[in-house]
Every structure is written in structure tokens, then in C-alpha cells.
């Protein structure tokens, strides 16, 4: 049985919620049960955003998470808040161009990817979340790149579809990082 409980957290504008929706959509493409729960309200308006995504073979009991199997963080406060939520053996992926504190846990797998730096160098800062999602796919197998591509086509508006081949290249860089 596969059950992925994923938290993605960072600042508003980093594509935190988009990343979560893409994962949920990719899961749906694989006929899995999925849920996506975004933060809303004061914390978002104050600048931080997070979302909880569940991808499962079985009916999803709770879309509200108190622990997770994988965590992507794109700022320091999010690492502080969610580090302890990750189950032993779980995965933490950080955007190391923005997250400067080190993960203290020794019972989880940690991957540091300078995603914002890579994206800026590649000419499009908005791709930073995709590098991290790529690594998540490799480490958790929560979705295949093929389903992820379908998710991009399903979620992005038509006028942004021209970006998708480039985004898939970025995803592959992230997968192999």
C-alpha cells in the first residue's frame, strides 16, 4: 500500500500552493485518492503559505495532517515549524538558497537544493518549486513525471502551455539532483 502525506511550505508567491495542486492532480491522473488542503487566512496574508497533500491507494481518512512522510520547505520559518512533523525515515527537501538553518533531525533523509538560485540562473525564478518537486518524485515515487506533465497541462491556463516543455526539463534536473 502506498500513502504519501506531503507538506509544502514557504512564502506566498513561491508557488507553494501550485506545487501542491500539481501533486494532487498528478495523483488523480494515476487513479489514486488525493486531497489538497491549502492554508488560508492570516498566515497567508502575512506572507507564509503551506499546503497538505495526501496521495493514497486507499480512501483518505484525514486531509488534515499532523505528521508527514515528506516535507518541502522554501523558507526558514517553515523548516522550524514543520521539521518535527516528519516521520522517522521520511524526506525533507529544502531550497538551500533560502533556507540557511540546517535540519537537526538525523532520522530523516535530507536533500538541499539551491532551487531559487538554479531557477534564477536558468532565467525563470518561478521554476524554483519545480526543482524541488522533481527531487520529491525521485525520493518518494508519489507520482511519475508523465502524470506530472499531465498535471501541468491540466492546471496551467492554455496561454502558459508553451512553458511546459521547459518546466519538464527543470523537473528532470530536480529529479537527478
Amino acid at each position: 500500500m502506498s500513502l504519501h502525506e506531503i507538506i509544502i511550505a514557504g512564502f506566498g508567491g513561491q508557488g507553494i500552493l501550485s506545487a501542491g495542486r500539481l501533486l494532487a492532480y498528478a495523483g488523480m491522473e494515476e487513479n489514486k485518492q488525493v486531497s489538497f488542503l491549502p492554508s488560508y487566512g492570516p498566515e497567508m496574508r502575512g506572507g507564509t503559505a503551506n499546503c497538505m497533500v495526501v496521495v493514497s491507494d486507499k480512501e483518505i481518512a484525514s486531509p488534515v495532517l499532523n505528521v508527514c512522510s515528506a516535507l518541502i520547505v522554501m523558507n526558514n520559518p517553515s523548516l522550524e515549524k514543520f521539521e518535527s512533523w516528519v516521520k522517522p525515515g521520511g524526506v525533507i527537501i529544502t531550497d538551500s538558497s533560502l533556507v540557511h538553518t540546517k535540519v537537526k533531525r538525523s532520522d530523516v533523509k535530507v536533500f538541499e537544493i539551491p532551487a531559487t538560485k538554479l531557477a534564477t540562473e536558468a532565467g525563470n525564478k518561478t521554476y524554483s518549486n519545480i526543482y524541488l518537486l522533481g527531487k520529491l518524485l525521485t525520493e518518494t515515487n508519489c507520482a511519475t513525471p508523465e502524470s506530472f506533465e499531465k498535471a501541468l497541462y491540466g492546471i496551467l491556463s492554455k496561454k502558459k502551455h508553451y512553458m511546459i516543455p521547459e518546466e519538464m526539463e527543470v523537473l528532470k534536473v530536480g529529479m537527478g539532483y
Partner: protein, 354 residues
């Protein structure tokens, strides 16, 4: 069944209402239900429907009163403080016996409170938040798919009994996305509405829609009729889900998003060999008393879990009437009970009854 879509709870309610034939929506924005309005604003003009952002919640509910009087399927939606503002209109619509669907995506109160999810409007929804001896049917979905199914059903129930039906959700359900599968052919029941004030061309007596009856003897007769209707609904419309109740040591009672968290608790407890079950009321009015009679002999105790100080708890106790111990745990103000919160209480109860 039709296409599968990944959609937000609030949007699914709006789409479901449109599929159920609702072409009149009146509302006023408030977090966390505003996406429902956005969807209506976008879609209604394209299908010949009416979307109106009223000047206030009070205006919106009175527009519902007017449109419902003509026999059209009509909806309004809001969140807790906005629903409080609507209570006068709700009482009038109850007095006039009109079908209408009201959505409350609850947030923490009292007062302006906060915007995080809550279930603290249970009393208001099920016991009558406005004045007078009235009830609405109250439906409590627990998934995005159920938001769809129950919204369509809400319009059918409303028309069947000439009664308001409330969809009682919370911020989690409104904001979350899950996969929803829409039916190709919608289950829309159609009803004759000879009572509707929709123009008579001098071919019949005109219909009167009112809630004023100054002669107390007459008003009492109306009230007796209302109570007969509510009793019929209590007999016919109870809905609930029983989850893992066979040989459960403790049966949890929870509705809406909290029921989902409780299922998580039950699954985790099962891995440790602790047998827990769940009664999930789907109708809050009528309260599903049948569910409790069905499983009463099984557990040592019941545990009600809510995002409130313990409101449904009173109905659970009234149903069990002291025949089994009833416990409570909950969070308030927009905090969501965690698996650990609930397990701690479960362990406490197990110790007491070991």
C-alpha cells in the same frame, strides 16, 4: 458517472447547485466560503441565471425569500457571522414554508471570531438560530464528493417538504480540493408547486405567502402543521455512516471534517489492536437516532469529537439517555483536533473502563 475533476469544496457546492437547477443565487462575500460566490458570479450569467452580490447578508436572505416564493430553486451562502445576520430572514422563510438552500462554511466564533474552521454553529443550525418553533434540514458533508451529492439532494429535500435545507460545512471542507465525479444525468426530482406566487393570469385564486398570523389559534394550527412535518422528516430522512462499529470498544461520534480525522484515529488505533468505531451523522437535523439504537449494545462508551465546546454532544446524550457513558473532546476557535488529542482521550476512557 462522468468526468473526474480535482476541485475545491466551495466551487463544487456552486457547481452542484447549478446542476440541481438553481438559477438564482444571492450572497455577500466572506472567508472561507467566497470561492462559492466567485464560481456563481462567473457561471450564472453564462447559463441565463441570476447572480447578485447583495449589499448585505440581510438583503441577500430576503432576496432568497422573494425568489423562493416564486417556486424557483434558490441558494445563498455565507460563513458564521454572515449566517447570524441572516437569521431574521431564515425565521421568516421557515414561517412561510419555503424551500431554499443555505450554505454555512463555518469559522470560529463568537462575534467576528476568526476565519479558521469550526463547528460551533451546530446549535444555531439545528435548534433554530432565529425565533420561533422551527427547524431546517441540516446536512453535514465530509468530503468534496459528498458536498456535490448532498447539495443536489438538499434541493430535492427542500422541494419535497417545502423546507429550508442547510449545508453545514467548515473551512477545511470549503477550502480543500479532492476529486469529484459528476453524474451525467443529475438526480433532480421535480415537484408541482401549486403554492408558488408566480402569476395567475386571473385563472386561479392568488397565492399568499406570509409568516404573519395574528390570531393565535390560527398560528397554533400552523405550528402544529410544522411540527408534523418535522416529525415526518425525523422518520424519513435520517442519514448516517457507521464505520468499523462491529465489536468496537469505544464508538466515536463526529461529523464533517472531524469525522475524517476520527477515521484516521480509528485506522491508527486498529494497527495497535485497539478497536474503535465511528457514527458519522450525515443529517444533523433530523439527528440520526437510529444509528445509536443500531449500535448501542456494542461499545463500552461513546466519545463525541467536535470543533466546538460540545454542541452535538447534547443530542448524543439525549439519544443515549444514560444507557451508556458519553465522553467529549474538542477544540475551539479555529483549532482542529489532532489525532493525538483524540487518542489521549481514548486512552483515558479505556483506562477508566478496563
Amino acid at each position: 458517472m462522468g468526468q473526474k475533476l480535482l476541485m475545491k469544496g466551495n466551487e463544487v457546492i456552486a457547481e452542484a447547485a447549478i446542476r440541481a437547477g438553481c438559477r438564482h443565487y444571492f450572497g455577500y462575500p466572506i472567508t472561507p466560503q467566497t470561492e462559492l460566490m466567485h464560481y456563481m458570479a462567473k457561471k450564472m450569467p453564462t447559463i441565463g441565471g441570476v447572480f447578485m452580490q447583495a449589499e448585505s447578508e440581510v438583503a441577500a436572505i430576503n432576496m432568497v425569500y422573494g425568489a423562493a416564493s416564486t417556486g424557483k430553486r434558490v441558494m445563498t451562502s455565507s460563513s458564521s457571522p454572515g449566517i447570524s445576520l441572516k437569521q431574521e430572514g431564515i425565521s421568516y422563510i421557515a414561517g412561510a414554508q419555503l424551500p431554499a438552500v443555505i450554505v454555512n462554511i463555518m469559522r470560529g466564533g463568537p462575534g467576528l471570531g476568526g476565519i479558521q474552521p469550526s463547528q460551533s454553529d451546530y446549535f444555531q443550525a439545528t435548534k433554530g438560530g432565529g425565533h420561533g418553533d422551527y427547524h431546517m434540514v441540516v446536512l453535514a458533508p465530509a468530503s468534496v464528493q459528498e458536498l456535490y451529492d448532498l447539495t443536489v439532494e438538499a434541493f430535492n429535500i427542500s422541494d419535497r417538504y417545502r423546507i429550508m435545507t442547510m449545508i453545514l460545512g467548515d473551512g477545511v471542507l470549503g477550502q480543500m480540493m479532492e476529486v469529484v465525479e459528476f453524474r451525467d444525468d443529475e438526480n433532480i426530482e421535480s415537484f408541482d408547486k401549486p403554492w408558488a406566487a408566480n402569476g395567475h393570469d386571473n385563472k386561479r385564486e392568488h397565492n399568499m405567502i406570509t409568516s404573519i398570523h395574528l390570531d393565535p389559534a390560527v398560528l397554533e394550527q400552523w405550528n402544529i402543521g410544522f411540527q408534523e412535518k418535522y416529525n415526518l422528516i425525523r422518520q424519513k430522512e435520517q442519514r448516517y455512516e457507521l464505520y468499523n462499529c462491529e465489536d468496537a470498544e469505544i464508538i466515536l461520534v463526529a461529523y464533517g471534517s472531524v469525522a475524517r480525522i476520527c477515521k484516521g484515529v480509528i485506522n491508527q488505533a486498529a494497527e495497535k489492536g485497539i478497536k474503535l468505531g465511528l457514527i458519522r451523522p450525515i443529517t444533523l437535523f433530523p439527528f440520526p437516532t437510529n444509528a445509536f439504537e443500531e449500535v448501542l449494545d456494542i461499545p463500552k462508551a461513546f466519545l463525541t469529537v467536535e470543533m466546538s465546546s460540545g454542541q452535538m454532544l447534547e443530542d448524543v446524550k439525549l439519544t443515549i439517555e444514560g444507557r451508556k457513558p458519553v465522553y467529549f473532546t474538542g477544540r475551539m476557535g479555529g483549532m482542529i483536533p489532532t489525532v493525538n488529542d483524540i487518542m489521549t482521550k481514548v486512552n483515558e476512557i479505556r483506562e477508566k473502563h478496563s
